[in-house]
Assembly symmetry: C3
């Protein structure tokens, strides 16, 4: 098995759950409204959630609601649809219940299954438990005359046993006695994982679990799957959600659970390259974004101070330390402190430039970025450069590959992408070789 | 195999080692005094240590001392008793010596084995090495007419090979050709691990090894075992010991090695919920505990400054940055900076409240905590709330489960628990459904 | 298999790559100049790089250049020689090309192979892919009449699949159907790994990948191999390179890729114990090195302030907090803030002292370090002590073992070692028992 992906989507930015049945006049209300989401508000993967988001007593009705709403609105829904059913590694009756829920939802006569891309299995255990679920998928496909392997399977990793199974996937997926090639998303579930690991924090906040996220991302990478982080439940904390996503992306975990349409928008936009470039300054151990003002990139904090002395000397105060520097030393020092966040436009430029250089027989070129820094009114010209070789080019290709995956599979977001980047940048990104 | 635990204790907070034989008139002196510990000074697991804590030349006598002291005092000892014998993955003669030590200690005629819960095997290697030790346990049980599997086996993870074996446990423990179900504690040994990994730090301090601790905790979780961290040898640094334990608990590693009765007290109390609640304020990147004063929760540091301006406006200075805020903005900003550490009493309240809500058919409720913050003499009313659902409830149950495990198995600590929490809180904690 | 190493070198500090063929009059120019490096400028492992460092169109010529330059200069080259050839887990034609490159380089008639210690295989995948490479080595040895297993194999870990394979090595290396005992270095390749994991950072900087480095180091430890970190491409940032190496050493990863002879010097010297001792002071969360002045160890920053009050009291200001302390309290507080970085001389002293104590029958002794701290002109005598037992001694032995490995295998560095430490310290280090 090479690690080619089995599914259309190469990236899933957003995993949005909706309760399948709620108390009230129209128990399918939440499902119905989610099914109407479009554009940046609509997730890449929509999860009608017949497990934790729905009260146990409502889950029977939840199955009916899924069938009804997905039959009616599934065709127009712009993302993939992956209902979550019940499952538990330690409880056979829950597993059998999950099987029955899938069997009903997947019945072609009910009309929903042609819009269902797969199912999400929570609370899995070791790899043999994953196989039990896979076997039910195979039976359901056989019973309903669906093509074997046509329903994808995604799992919630929320136990130590499941985390260990992430290391077995690649090997097991080639095994002729299962259909684990149907695997699609590996989704962390930190709340239940925390319980399973018996972890405790003073405030009751969830631990950050960096190793779990690494192992999920690595498991996805090794088996050609997609890694998705669990729910971020501090819903009003948009900054915190962004910080978590940035951390995740540095681990190769590009998708994240979204609990509200607002979070969907943030998480759909989060991994897309920024529309404008930014300069950061590393002051006193934390990175400050510079202001793009008339004369250049201005720092307006108080931790860094700059003053011109006589005869071309400068006095730089940085976190209590004082340095006397000539112009060249000052420039060097500031270059060390500064870093550059490229925009989509820049990334496309750099990649096109490298492609042209490669065609002309050059294997490595320097990419230069220049700016005027303004500190306490004093302007300093700086420029940084970075060597690009084939490997840099390939690694820089990830955000472009993401962008193109989104562009291909989410036509409902074309207007928003054009508005964000301008039509010309969109066109050039689609024209790259990568 | 479901991941149900094989042993009575679900938690081990403290792993306390004593030399089995020391130079002097009474070579069993240290063993004898440890065997008299009671209450918070007595560990959950006591380890008469016939390996590193005892000079090689004294280990013969150490075996005799274990037999003598455990026969005499084992019955009254309130914790479990797990002698450590010698072992090495790379040395068959050391392994055979370890076998002989266990064989002698476990001889029923000597009278100690009825009080011995198991043995601790240091310096294990890969899983096949663990099986060699397990086989010796089985032979010893057979030779001495003990029930097969009745002696538990705990290991010290102090090599890369043993760390890798943590991933195989769950699978191997179901294997009919071994009795690895006897496994009980997985204990990190960072000093020898550092040597085995050939790691170096400038000062000679031990590296923090976060991945090792994660993998040990995960291995324990997957196989229904108990994870224990290694020795913290900066004995006078109580604050550091607490910080390490807090970090460990966020990894699900609740137990820790204790080198002195003083460390035993700290480590027995550490994982128990606090007796009083606290408010923390995140100022300049670090968390400061607020003082519980007459008017509310007071901040008395200098990094945060608050001043009332005209017309309901406030001037907040936070780490060099200045903000002008109206009352509502000020409140919001402070709410973001504050966090709440619940007391045992609060946890019990919240859980009881959730249990009642669940009974009344509600799946999620908001838990609110309010306080008056006092900064530079200005009082601001704040309140934070957190949604509780079944998963939150289950995760919050870990400290309660720990408390109940302690209460059930350590009657010698009842008085100290009652004094700490008051008899009424203890009663209510025991009455929860969880 | 015990975890004894198969090769002469127990440590590899430096992994230095050279392009095998560059455009111009003498395409072997870079190889030729690298082959002349001696002393601290010469790496422990030199990698004529016929993969990424060399343009695809130049690689045929690269093979000829390797043969020519290594034949001529290999005998005198003071480090090991491990050419890197092409390979890819997903591409059989690249693998076959790699085989042919090795076959040509290893031809005894060409005269290079007697100086070639092994080959470096990039872009490996799971363990079965490693076995494919190993099989080619075996065929090449057989075809060329070389001893089976005489060519070592090193791999670049630059995919999630390869990272997972690190957990299988120990077990697979005992397998009679392969010759994986030929494995030598495990080298991280973070650029391609980042691409394989599809990770993204705002600035395009590489993520730090702490878990990958841990897993590589652990894999090396478990299988008796050598762990090497990937390229640090910010070549002018010497401080950053040192910080990365220090972090790596705390993980047991002692080697690092070097891209220039300048980096080779830094990375050859980095893991050697310092020639002089230093005192560090932990002020405001970061460690500051004290100045070794006439009166003692002086702090000259502004974050810590000390003033003498009346009647033996002192006023200590530390990061905004003010403490009034008597002399004893002041001393205690400073002892907590201070740490000591021993020199080679100190380490040798401490080890010799422990060896003598052990011979005299003592299992643990206290090592004391004293200094006069000078803060704002006020002198405070402090001393710290640390208990040494057998385990401490063994762990402290790693830098000494490294030093001795270097001394044994790199006679070209003897002069530089003597100049660094003085001949007497070198002698004593070689005389230790460890």
């Amino acid at each position: 098995m090479s690690s080619r992906r089995q599914y259309q989507r190469e990236f899933v930015r957003t995993f949005f759950t909706s309760p399948t049945a709620v108390e009230g006049d129209d128990s399918a209300k939440m499902l119905r409204s989610a099914s109407q989401l479009r554009g940046m508000q609509a997730p890449d993967a929509w999860i009608p959630d017949n497990e934790d988001a729905t009260a146990p007593s409502m889950r029977e009705e939840g199955v009916e609601n899924i069938v009804e709403v997905v039959s009616e609105h599934g065709e127009e829904f712009p993302g993939e649809i992956h209902p979550r059913i019940v499952w538990h590694r330690d409880d056979p009756s829950t597993r059998y219940e999950g099987f029955q829920q899938m069997l009903r939802i997947a019945d072609p006569e009910a009309g929903a299954v042609e819009h269902v891309d797969g199912f999400v299995i929570p609370e899995v255990g070791d790899i043999d438990d994953w196989k039990k679920a896979d076997e039910f998928f195979t039976i359901i496909e056989s019973e309903h005359g669906l093509e074997e392997g046509s329903l994808s399977m995604s799992v919630i990793v929320e136990s130590g046993a499941a985390e260990l199974a992430l290391g077995d996937l690649r090997e097991e997926m080639g095994n002729p006695s299962n259909n684990l090639e149907r695997l699609f998303m590996l989704v962390d579930g930190e709340v239940d994982y925390t319980k399973d690991m018996r972890a405790m924090t003073p405030t009751g906040e969830l631990p950050a679990w960096p190793e779990l996220r690494h192992n999920t991302s690595r498991g996805a990478s090794a088996a050609g799957l997609i890694a998705v982080d669990g729910p971020y439940d501090d819903i009003r904390n948009v900054e915190g959600y962004h910080a978590r996503m940035e951390e995740n992306r540095a681990k190769g975990m590009i998708g994240i659970w979204s609990l509200t349409p607002g979070q969907v928008v943030e998480a759909n936009e989060g991994p897309l390259p920024p529309e404008t470039e930014r300069w950061l300054l590393d002051v006193g151990g934390s990175e400050v974004e510079l202001d793009d003002v008339e004369g250049g990139q201005a720092y307006d904090g108080t931790e860094l101070g700059l003053e011109e002395l006589d005869e071309g000397m400068y006095r730089l105060e940085d976190g209590g330390e004082i340095h006397e520097l000539d112009e060249e030393q000052l420039r060097e020092r500031l270059v060390e402190m500064v870093s550059y966040v490229p925009s989509m436009d820049d990334i496309v430029d750099s990649m096109a430039e490298f492609e042209a250089a490669k065609e002309a027989g050059r294997g490595a070129i320097a990419m230069t970025q220049s700016a005027t820094l303004v500190v306490d009114g004093i302007e300093v010209e700086i420029s940084t450069d970075r060597m690009w070789d084939e490997a840099t080019y390939q690694a820089a290709g990830t955000p472009i590959a993401l962008f193109r995956d989104v562009h291909e599979h989410r036509p409902d977001q074309h207007d928003e992408l054009k508005e964000r980047y301008g039509p010309e940048v969109v066109e050039r990104a689609l024209d790259l070789d990568v």
